[in-house]
């Protein structure tokens, strides 16, 4: 059901074709699950993506996550909650910050808000996505992902927690990590192998580092801070211990697993409101 719709190839500009194709490849499964489903027009989302790529990308980055204090992929905004708030911020900027007024017209603001609201659903890479429920079964079963990763509470703490991976990584980045885990791994997540002055070895995932010290988490879930003067060597293991799913999974399984990962956007706690 997730086939790229070529019927759009005859209309619009090259830009629009690209965004529509990418969007339609993703929307059927994703928009149905999100909070604002049906609230935003597909054409607005695509037009907003085009506007974003032309200007906003300079500060916010191609994926909207370049500014930690204004991560557009997080779905929450420090100075806006409603769409009207977002339009105001985009149009007028935020005094005292790098967010300058843009002066976009109402139609452009509508498009930009539509895109920002759907930024984590917008599949700009054109990756083929499958069924997230089948992907979840793969994640918990054949893929053995839970032996290192965690998406909820409990379980291993060594590998990065994936509970919000659908917000923090793009479809293309996740695809790369699954197909070639060593190349696709973020450098900060690479395992360190540390040899002490007395010849002992310590392995851990790097959390932080400066010139004189390094901070790790071990496979046992302990936090370590090490003084580099007490280390003989520090090796960065560029070979990921995660399997290369490019050969272990079929193309459809890839698409399913990717769809599941992109659906992980953090827990919803609405049910506990007293």
């Amino acid at each position: 059901m997730l086939k790229i719709n070529n019927a759009l190839s005859a209309i619009g500009s090259k830009w629009m074709i690209f965004f529509f194709k990418a969007l339609l490849a993703f929307l059927p499964i994703q928009l149905s699950a999100q909070q604002h489903a049906g609230q935003y027009d597909v054409a607005d989302i695509a037009y907003g993506a085009q506007l974003f790529a032309g200007r906003c990308v300079v500060c916010h980055g191609a994926d909207g996550d370049l500014m930690p204090r204004a991560n557009l992929r997080s779905g929450t905004f420090r100075n806006a909650s409603s769409d009207r708030d977002l339009m105001r911020v985009i149009r007028d900027g935020i005094e005292g910050t790098a967010m300058a007024s843009t002066g976009y017209a109402d139609a452009e603001l509508t498009a930009l808000v539509a895109y920002v609201r759907n930024i984590t659903n917008f599949n700009g890479s054109g990756e083929v996505l499958g069924d997230p429920s089948t992907g979840k079964e793969l994640f918990n079963g054949k893929g053995e992902c839970l032996s290192c990763h965690n998406t909820g509470l409990g379980g291993p703490k060594y590998a990065p927690h994936l509970g919000k991976i659908g917000i923090t990584r793009t479809a293309a980045a996740l695809r790369r990590a699954m197909q070639d885990s060593s190349e696709g791994m973020l450098p900060i997540n690479r395992e360190l192998v540390l040899e002490t002055n007395s010849g002992e070895l310590i392995r851990g995932r790097r959390l932080n580092e400066d010139t004189y010290s390094v901070q790790l988490i071990t496979r046992e879930g302990n936090l370590l801070s090490l003084d580099k003067t007490q280390l003989l060597s520090i090796e960065i293991n560029k070979t990921s211990s995660m399997p290369n799913y490019g050969t272990l999974l079929s193309e459809q399984e890839h698409a399913d697993l990717l769809a599941y990962l992109l659906s992980l956007k953090g827990p919803v706690f609405e049910g506990l409101t007293p």
């Binding site: 010849g199 002992e200 310590i202 959390l207 010290s213 936090l223 409101t273």
Partner: protein
């Protein structure tokens, strides 16, 4: 052949953190394990006293700076850190949590909660810290949510809405864990809220009980409000309470009634505003209360930390006391088994009351809007944590001396989410300016004509002043005392200093350049004593030079 290093929690070669479960037993006996700092006030007794004595009056001048953590936020740094096995858990405004390495100050992880734009805390987007139990941290947020985080990874475990921020409800306090519950209270006394204290399940976040600090219709104390005034009567909670495991009572200070400055809109004593309430932590049931300022005219919140101390007063006494230097300018000694008033005396200049009767009720002498009322609106003291040292048997208070305000009541209509103050501050005050710039400024406009700050050492049994350390400017910093006969505190001038706890003699000071807004703490790292304080927007950590 290389061997895999077996990581042990006892290794001193490296700074190795093996996070252990923080159990109820550890919380109950935190004072006997001074290497950690497990609650906002250090222990359930909230004495902010540590038995660590490596740093003492003889070597305190040899303290050296070990590292500095610079917050990303430029808003007030009011948080007291927690320390568990050399990991420091810290918040910065508004609601970001850090896990720091006690050796280097480097960050292991960071969790950022972005509060709703509906949040409208009256007095700054501040957070005063965390609670910890088992392997979870708990944070109350300015948009009135309660969060639980994994202490090793910083991953969010659960989050609940405690109240509606759009109505002025906020949370700025560090939560308190007692047994299987985490307890918080709501701020918002300037917005016409109805205050409450509530307990939530540690594991699930489900609410277990709620105690309204304003009794509803049919409940004892409801008669202390006139008609509908109770519905928007304030009585907020914005500092952490204390707990006595032997009595199974938890004690919380309650804020001002609303509207703040117009008592004629709310005739009656306005229970339980400006009171201390003693609750059963299992049920939230009220066991006793004591009201410091009935029908408050002056915004004299009684949210000060309830300091619990044990000593013998006389043959008939229980030996279990509560020490309380109140914002209204009086020092109180209460029996914490039953709330009985034992002693009360002014610790700063007071003219709104001529004294206290035998029950502790003030004998009021209102000055009216034509004259200056002492203490002023910020009080003789406020939210700055006091300290009690069992070593010196003295009670220490950060005080504002000779400082007054002119209060002008005004009628006000309650509007949801809007300030419900009901008055204004008049002026000029004869012989002095009104309250100058409240925050730390490059040029200090605060002069002795307006009042001055001081660290006061009081005899807790009588309330009499034993010694006094005067400061040019006022202070917002809490107090730490240690078994090294030391007292650490700071002030708005950017000074962080150590006094001889017995005599008040100044022994050491540092110019850290930013206002102190929290209380110093002490802990052990690699068996060496550390002293930590936040000044300005940074956390400074000191230890003896080796």
């Amino acid at each position: 052949m290389k061997k895999i290093f077996l990581i042990t929690c006892s290794s001193l070669l490296f700074s190795i953190k093996c996070f252990g479960q923080v159990t109820q037993s550890q919380l109950d006996s935190a004072g006997e394990n001074p290497g950690n700092w497990l609650t906002y006030s250090g222990t359930y007794k909230s004495q902010r006293y540590s038995t660590l004595d490596e740093v003492d009056t003889g070597n305190v001048s040899k303290l050296e700076l070990k590292w500095v953590f610079q917050a990303q936020s430029l808003e007030a740094f009011e948080a007291t850190p927690l320390v568990v096995d050399s990991i420091i858990y810290l918040t910065e405004a508004p609601n970001t949590v850090y896990a720091l390495d006690a050796e280097t100050g480097r960050t292991f992880w960071r969790y950022q909660h972005d509060p709703s734009i509906d949040a409208r805390p009256c007095c700054g987007r501040v957070n005063r810290g965390l609670a910890i139990a088992n392997d979870s941290l708990y944070m109350a947020t300015i948009d009135a949510k309660l969060l639980s985080l994994d202490a090793v990874t910083g991953v969010l475990k659960w989050q609940i809405d405690v109240a509606d921020p759009a109505l002025g409800y906020a949370m700025t306090l560090a939560p308190l864990v007692i047994k299987d519950k985490v307890i918080v209270g709501v701020a918002g006394g300037e917005y016409g809220i109805r205050g409450f204290i509530a307990a939530f399940d540690l594991e699930t976040g489900e609410e277990r009980w709620r105690f309204y600090t304003i009794p509803g219709p049919g409940e004892p104390g409801h008669e202390s409000w006139d008609s509908g005034s109770w519905e928007h009567g304030g009585a907020s909670i914005w500092l952490t309470g204390s707990y006595d495991p032997t009595l199974n009572l938890t004690y919380w200070g309650v804020g001002n009634p609303g509207p703040d400055w117009n008592p004629e809109q709310r005739p009656g004593d306005n229970l339980y505003s400006d009171s201390v309430v003693a609750l059963n932590p299992d049920t939230g049931e009220l066991v006793w209360h004591f009201q410091f300022t009935p029908n408050d005219d002056y915004d004299y919140d009684s949210i000060q930390i309830p300091v619990l101390a044990d000593f013998q007063l006389n043959d008939l006494s229980s030996g279990k006391y509560m020490l309380w230097a109140n914002r209204n300018g009086f020092y109180y000694l209460l029996d914490r088994t039953n709330g009985k008033f034992l002693k009360g005396t002014p610790f700063v200049k007071v003219n709104w009351a001529s004294g206290l009767d035998e029950t502790g009720r003030p004998i009021e002498t209102p000055q009216g809007p034509e004259k200056v009322t002492f203490p002023g609106v910020q009080g003789g003291t406020n939210w700055y944590s006091p300290s009690y040292s069992p070593q010196t048997e003295l009670f220490y208070v950060t005080a504002w001396e000779n400082y007054g305000s002119i209060f002008i009541p005004q009628d006000i209509t309650y509007v949801p989410g809007r300030i419900f103050g009901g008055g204004a501050l008049g002026g000029p005050i004869p012989g002095a300016a009104n309250l100058p710039a409240f925050g730390n400024q490059p040029i200090n406009t605060w002069t002795s004509e307006v009042g001055n700050g001081a660290i006061l050492a009081l005899d807790p049994k009588s309330g009499e002043q034993v010694w006094r350390y005067p400061m040019n400017d006022i202070g917002h910093s809490g107090i730490l005392t240690t078994a090294g006969n030391l007292l650490f505190s700071g002030n708005r001038e950017g000074l962080f200093f150590a006094l001889n706890a017995k005599t008040g003699e100044i022994l050491w000071h540092q110019r850290l350049g930013g206002q102190g807004n929290n209380g110093p703490i002490t802990f052990l790292h690699n068996n060496q004593q550390r002293i930590a304080t936040a000044m300005g927007n940074s956390l400074f950590v000191y230890g003896l030079k080796k």
